[in-house]
């Protein structure tokens, strides 16, 4: 293992950071100034990365660092014990036995991105004795692990994965995934067989057609016809059977479905072809029919895959609240227990930086809580004894003791997630345009065939039956069945290349016409993190502020750190954190107090003149932070959540196209109103202080008036996203929100929304054009069949020609731009961490 394989930086970040920045040896991101230790060769941005590096190095796995593409995110080990993974109840639910006597389970891993992750996760057997196999499915982030129960418990394996930055979660959908896998394989087998048969029948048909032109001895013609028949039969009894069962279901439920006209055409063609084979006269149709089955199966496969993605990933919902909690028993002993075993009345110990596992009342301690996940409120709220805290929210600043009130299924977050699941289920799938047309189409074709047959027999025209059958075959809605799924698949693929992951084709249909667009504020319209927005005060105060804030995990401290990177900080002699107020410390014999105006006022004896002038002009949307040095108020900082650069322009464009835009946020009303004014929202369309339940109700109300699109990023938006006609999760959002969204934007900013609506509109145009083409072909074919002009050769050319037109139309039709410049994952490495 050579150290030259150890790249200190990725090309993207390397150039920008050439001057002073030191890059983490593990993740390649900048190392914070305070952590740089010039005495050692390698620098790390956090202890997580350091630990991961040490483990890899010890086991000789340094070649991990040779990958061109690897995770550009600091390792965030949760440090949990994963004790619950060893619980018998857990084993019963998730662990199976292999024939060789090993235990086997599937784990959903957070933070899986790329090739290097596959490599690393599959080296777990080297890191953890007892593990015999680990295999990662990178697309689904699922790892299959097989291990020897006598050698190692599952919790040890889970810890090993956690340390490397892939916190594992049990995968609850094993049974469903297995069923789906079986379905997928059956579909693939059908397509493969249909394809092989279609090609071979086509080769035989080629010989027959050229024989017709140049002359062919009768014995060979008969032989080729019988061979075609023999090869086509399996296509009908195996892959083609799905259309007949589908048509039968459609007849039985009296709902017209695309399968019905297809089955009629297939049956008519097959029976007629078989009879003609036996009698040795007339067209046999087998080539066209075999291709038809193949093409239709491909179309169906594309459609099914699109719908699959929509149903996927609901599993992630369960990953939000922690799986374990630390319970304090009567003798003040603390032990870890699974969150599922929590009961009302128990007392929990929650350290700073941890997530609450249950709803409860604070019984000891005071701290601040970030409930952004649940309420969308971006500023932490302070809690003290007697305050209610909720599962899934984050304890920011100090340890707390909490008495459990509601746990598990009855907690607020669990109820919210249940609503999410229900809304997702309730949403009826949109009947595809083509399917709606198929009903009318079937009726018209059947009537036309019958009429043609009756009229021609009345007129004693020759070959009345043959012409009627030719009509049925040539009007098989093959191109019609392909029109929608093909156009949608191509559009979804292009959109994905542009950073918009679309899970269901119906979202495109809904987005093509203007409706109501509801946006969350925090993280959607704004950047979702605290940044320094204003600073009134002299330069010399900045290092003092930074020195004190450096050790704080408070979000506001984060804002200072980001605002002044690389500032030299003096040594803090003494510092103290006052919960719900601020920080106090001694630096160079100066007493420095930083915090809320009320906290700072306690130590203030005089106010600096320039600061006094600025006191009156504080922006209401910002959180004010006052800095007091030796009793003098010397500086005021305003921290706030910055509005995204492209927000106003994008919103304006959407409004121009007829969308009604609404901002719906859990944040304080005055903040929302102020942001709404800046961005041109109508006063009644900038709604603040909305709880997740309020958001859901609002969406339900708007839905009565038409299409509602909900754009959000947090769990607090998840229910609303699921209930909306189209839910959109934005870049960096919570996984639960992404799981329920129909569309997920992988690039920051609201510009994607404009592109999305435009692309949807164009996609619908392509679909309509496709349908128009396929119907035109069918009308021409039907006309020729009725007139008796349809020779088998013309039929054989016409049918694939219509499908090819649709394929080309979908491929070359302009929906989403093929690629957008600068849209590479490497441009925003920090954003990948979520």
């Amino acid at each position: 293992m050579s150290t030259d394989a150890l790249r200190m930086a990725t090309p993207a970040t390397g150039a920008a950071a050439a001057h002073t920045e030191v890059l983490c040896a593990h993740c390649g991101l900048a190392v914070p100034e305070g952590l740089v230790d010039s005495a050692v060769e390698r620098q790390f941005c956090c202890t997580g990365c350091h630990t991961a590096f040490s483990i890899l190095h010890e086991h000789g796995l340094d070649s991990y660092y040779g990958f061109a593409e690897r995770r550009e995110a600091p390792v965030r080990a949760s440090g949990r014990s994963y004790e619950e993974f060893d619980h018998p109840a857990f084993a019963q639910l998730y662990v199976t036995r292999t024939p060789a006597g090993l235990a086997r389970t599937e784990l959903y891993l957070e933070g899986v991105h790329c090739a290097s992750c596959v490599w690393l996760v599959e080296r777990i057997p080297l890191l953890q004795s007892g593990v015999l196999r680990a295999e990662l499915d990178v697309r689904r982030s699922l790892a299959v692990v097989e291990w020897d129960l006598d050698v190692t418990p599952l919790s040890a394996i889970a810890r090993a994965l956690d340390v490397l930055g892939y916190p594992p979660h049990p995968f609850r959908g094993v049974a469903r995934a297995d069923m789906r896998k079986r379905e997928d394989r059956a579909m693939l087998v059908r397509i493969g067989i249909a394809g092989a048969i279609a090609i071979n029948v086509m080769l035989l048909a080629l010989a027959l057609y050229s024989g017709e032109l140049d002359g062919m001895e009768a014995q060979y013609t008969t032989f080729f016809r019988w061979m075609s028949f023999a090869v086509t039969v399996p296509a009908f009894v195996w892959p083609g059977r799905v259309f007949f069962t589908g048509a039968w279901a459609s007849v039985r439920t009296k709902s017209l479905h695309m399968d019905l006209p297809i089955a009629i055409a297939l049956a008519a063609g097959f029976v007629r072809g078989a009879i003609n084979t036996i009698t040795g006269e007339g067209p046999i149709y087998f080539d066209g029919l075999a291709i038809l089955i193949f093409a239709l199966l491909v179309g169906r496969f594309l459609q099914q895959r699109g719908q699959r993605m929509a149903a996927d990933a609901a599993e992630l919902l369960h990953a939000i609240a922690p799986d374990t909690a630390r319970v304090v028993d009567a003798t003040d002993q603390i032990r870890d227990i699974p969150a599922a075993a929590l009961l009302p009345g128990m007392t929990l110990d929650i350290r700073a930086g941890e997530t609450f596992a249950a709803d409860g009342v604070v019984v000891r301690g005071a701290s601040s809580v970030n409930a952004a996940l649940l309420t969308g409120e971006s500023r932490p709220t302070s809690v003290a004894e007697g305050t209610m805290v909720y599962a899934g929210t984050l304890n920011v600043s100090a340890p707390l003791r909490v008495r459990v009130e509601e746990a598990g299924e009855t907690s607020r977050i669990a109820k919210l997630l249940r609503q999410v699941e229900e809304s997702a289920r309730r949403r009826a799938p949109i009947v595809q345009l083509a399917n709606r047309m198929a009903g009318i189409f079937t009726a018209v074709v059947l009537v036309a065939a019958a009429a043609s047959f009756v009229i021609k027999t009345q007129l004693n025209a020759p070959a009345a039956l043959d012409d009627a059958i030719a009509l049925l075959i040539v009007t098989c809605p093959c191109a019609l069945a392909l029109a929608t799924p093909l156009a949608i698949t191509v559009a979804v693929g292009r959109a994905a290349g542009n950073g918009m992951l679309i899970k269901g084709g119906d979202a495109l249909e809904l987005l093509s016409k203007p409706g109501t667009l509801v946006l969350d504020k925090t993280g959607t319209i704004t950047e979702g993190r605290t940044a320094l927005a204003s600073w009134v005060g002299p330069e010399w105060v900045k290092p003092l502020v930074l020195a004190l804030e450096e050790g704080s995990s408070h979000p506001l401290a984060d804002g200072f750190r980001r605002a002044w990177p690389g500032l030299d900080t003096p040594v803090v002699e003494r510092s103290q954190h006052v919960a719900g107020g601020g920080l106090e410390g001694v630096i160079n014999d100066q007493v420095v107090r930083i915090g809320s105006p009320r906290f700072a006022a306690e130590g203030t004896t005089r106010i600096n003149a320039t600061v006094a002038a600025a006191l009156g002009a504080v922006d209401k949307t910002q959180t004010p932070v006052h800095v007091v040095v030796n009793g003098e108020l010397v500086a005021i900082a305003g921290l706030g959540d910055r509005i995204r650069d492209d927000a106003l322009r994008s919103l304006q464009q959407l409004r121009d196209r007829g969308w009604r835009t609404v901002m719906l946020s859990g944040d304080a009303s005055d903040v929302v109103a102020s942001v709404g004014q800046t961005l041109g929202f109508a006063a009644h369309d900038a709604i603040g202080a909305a709880s997740p339940e309020d958001k859901l109700a609002f969406i339900e109300r708007c839905k009565q008036q038409g299409t509602v699109v909900m754009v959000g990023d947090g769990v607090n938006d998840a229910a609303a996203i699921a209930a909306a006609s189209v839910g959109i999760g934005v870049h960096g959002g919570a996984e639960a929100c992404l799981a329920t969204a129909d569309i997920y934007l992988t690039r920051p900013g609201l510009g994607a929304l404009v592109e999305l609506t435009e692309g949807s509109r164009r996609t619908m145009t392509v679909i309509r054009r496709n349908i128009g083409f396929s119907i035109a072909y069918n009308v021409i074919g039907a006309g020729m069949a009725v007139l008796g002009m349809l020779t088998p050769l013309i039929a054989a050319v016409l049918m694939p020609a219509s499908s090819i037109t649709v394929v080309l139309g979908s491929w070359y039709g302009f929906t989403f731009a093929r690629r957008v410049a600068g849209n590479s994952a490497g441009t925003a490495p920090a954003a990948l961490t979520t």
């Binding site: 596959v118 490599w119 599959e122 080297l126 990662l136 499915d137 693939l188 067989i193 092989a196 060979y220």
Partner: protein, 47 residues
């Protein structure tokens, strides 16, 4: 030309063999995940 009576069924038998091989590979799960094996083989010297 009468050799076609022999060659054509033979060709069909070969196709059938290919189809059977495909069905076997699909059913044994070799085509389930087409993404991961592609990145897995990039660096396999550690095994």
């Amino acid at each position: 030309m009468s050799v076609i009576f022999l060659v054509l069924p033979l060709a069909i038998i070969i196709v059938a063999a290919a189809v059977i091989a495909f069905v076997w590979s699909a059913r044994s799960g070799q085509l389930d995940d087409l993404e991961t094996p592609a990145v897995r083989m990039l660096r396999d010297e550690g095994r």
